[in-house]
Amino acid sequence: MVIMSERKIKVALAGNANVGKSAIFNCLTGLHQHIGNWPGKTVERAIGSLKFKEYEIEVIDLPGIYSFSTFSLEELISREYIAVERPDVVINVIDASVLERNLFFALQLLELQAPIIIALNQVDLARRKGINICEKKLSDLLGVPVISTIAIKGVGIHELIESVIEVVEGKKKIELKRIEYGREVEDRLRRLEDLLSGLKTTYPARFTALKLLEGDEEIKREISFINEKIVSASERYAREIEEIHGEPCFSVISSERYVVASKIAKEVQEIAPAKMSLIDRVDEIIMHKFLGYLIMLIVMFSVFYAIFAFGNFLSAMISDVFETLKPAVLKVEEEILWEGAIGGFVACITLVLPYVLPFYLLLTVLEDSGYLPRIAFLLDNVMHKMGLHGKAIIPLILGYGCNVPACYSCRIMETQRDRLIAAFAVTFIPCTARIIVILGLVASFISMEWAFTLLLIDLAITFAVSRAAFKALPGEPIGLIMEVHSLRVPSINVVVSQTWARLKSIILLVFPIYVIGGTLLAIMYAIGLLRLIEEALAPLTMGWLGLPPIAGALLLFGAVRKELVVAMPAIIFGTIDLSTVFTPIQMLVLAFLTMIYVPCVATYAMLKREFGWKVASYITIFEVAFGLLLSGIFYRLLLFIGL
């Protein structure tokens, strides 16, 4: 038997957002994929692999972007990856139904001189819109292979891989065409190219020259280390072009690139008038100025309802199973240990599985169907009042389920600044665990109205802090600009594999924290260490907040898992009737404090992963101080009302 040696090749998927890149990625790699971060960056990186013939192909899904400037981390990461890691093939996924916009990006890939194969995706959708594209012409004009695909149905994927192999084996030649700019730009571009020729730069000479003219800070820095003069020459040229055209040089370059894209698009596509399809009609309705909001409310409500109904059902079932496993007679100390360690494990299962799983599932469905931009459209104005834009509604809603995935979902915001504000706002949203505390303390023993009041106050606080953060953080917001894609039925493959990959990363983060944190605290309690802490905290808890001494320990437990604030007293005092333990005012204050006083440890870990430990710690410190301050005021207000 002959053992064939496997050749490894690297393939990158690049393209605009929402063109079906993930669908192609899934077709190629199936469940052999791993979602993580780019090293040291908070941008999602999806890597997968497949075996084809004697090749082992590593596929990397680059973020969806429109340009290779330095507008966002995603753009920077993508261009660096292509230029430095030099994948064997870059598959440029293009949405055939919006060819012109997608070609703008393809042209930039050409300028990066990457070995490109174009996957002309969603040709079915284009045809429905009356657009017919001639692959051959497109291929000739760009000098790269073009394969038509319908990724959701798996059409054309085989040909795509075949074509990748042919390119790698040299059977298919890629001869990238050169994009000619207007004379004023082209002349200066060539002069810069000449200056750059022979120098060792990260990017190809023409790309570097273009970016110098565009005033790209990063590339300017790189070249200024090599030869200061080239940079000053480029600045002079850029000024000249600006004088001639009467608009900034980068704008001239983008304009002319779009002119080329538009020309190519016109040449290769035939557009027949299409009649309004069913999906267009649906689109009209969900973006309607009245019906749109109604439908949005219904969708949101159903999503919430589905998740909580399903979550409660599943979580009750799982807890019951564990409850039967629990030894019948336990001393208080043992019970606390059990609650801390095993309880942590159970909590993770009963929280993550029933709530986070459906959340992720539905989020992916909403994402993949193209509904999110439409929500952003309808809600942009409301979110503006919070200093955010429309997309931020997603993390905020997710926050009601669990803050951890919600902080993670802040990545859908474009800039780091928006992400940070959104994540900060999210930590004030009462998650399932906090809602359990409010229900367990306030709704059960005081009244439903008070429970709602607390939730409303919390919403107001979220609004206020988010707005304050918006005012306080440096930097200018860019504002909302996003492409709206045709609605589509989400692909099951994409939904399942993405949900699974995201779930995996959350479980790895949360499980150890819950179990270790819970156990440590339980041990501290069992050996009496918490008593000391309780005493140390007494001036705050008893003096400032009017709570019983036990509150000190409860707050520590709550920092690990918020629902322990209501679960622990039940165990410690051996009664479910908490009205024998707390006065109504104490219950209200405790519930209020629990809502805001600190992000739980798992949220902290997620914040740290997304923004670094400094930011995570600042947020935590702020919330502790802010929570204590507000709760103290709240306590005095309640005394004043005389509840």
């Binding site: 004379r183 004023e184 001639i244 009467g246 980068f250 304009s255 002119v259 459209f377 834009h389 200018e476």
Partner: protein, 127 residues
């Protein structure tokens, strides 16, 4: 008040451009080559002052041609990269209620643009 300020700014911007374009004509630099023919047409139209409106001020269904985009570098870059370049035709598809963003058709694709960004894009109405 704010809107008047915006219009004045637009006028000032237009004047500076007009001077530049005159300078260009004196220099005798041709715009031809690969440059869009729409550029020249755009310039001629722009000679009539007062023709500009902000994209946000268009009504649903109106068509217009983009003249220029103002604002900080990052913002202009983002807008032109999304295809809102000089001479491009746009059509307003929808305006979200409660002073929300607008939806426009540009280059065969639909874009949602927030109110403040859309007020930085100046256009000339098309009949």
């Amino acid at each position: 008040m704010k809107r008047v300020g915006g219009k004045l700014k637009a006028l000032a911007y237009f004047l500076s451009r007009y001077r530049r374009s005159c300078a260009r004509r004196r220099e005798g630099v041709s715009l031809k080559a690969e440059a869009p023919s729409t550029l020249d047409e755009g310039l001629e139209k722009r000679v009539e002052p007062g023709g500009f409106v902000a994209l946000i001020d268009l009504r649903v269904g109106e068509r217009a041609e983009i003249s220029f985009v103002e604002g900080a570098r990052a913002i202009v870059k983002r807008l032109v990269d999304m295809g809102l370049t000089r001479g491009t035709e746009v059509k307003v598809l929808k305006v979200a209620p409660f002073n929300g963003p607008i939806e426009v058709l540009v280059r065969g694709s639909r874009l949602i643009i927030s109110r403040e960004l859309a007020s930085k894009v100046f256009v000339i109405r098309k009949d």
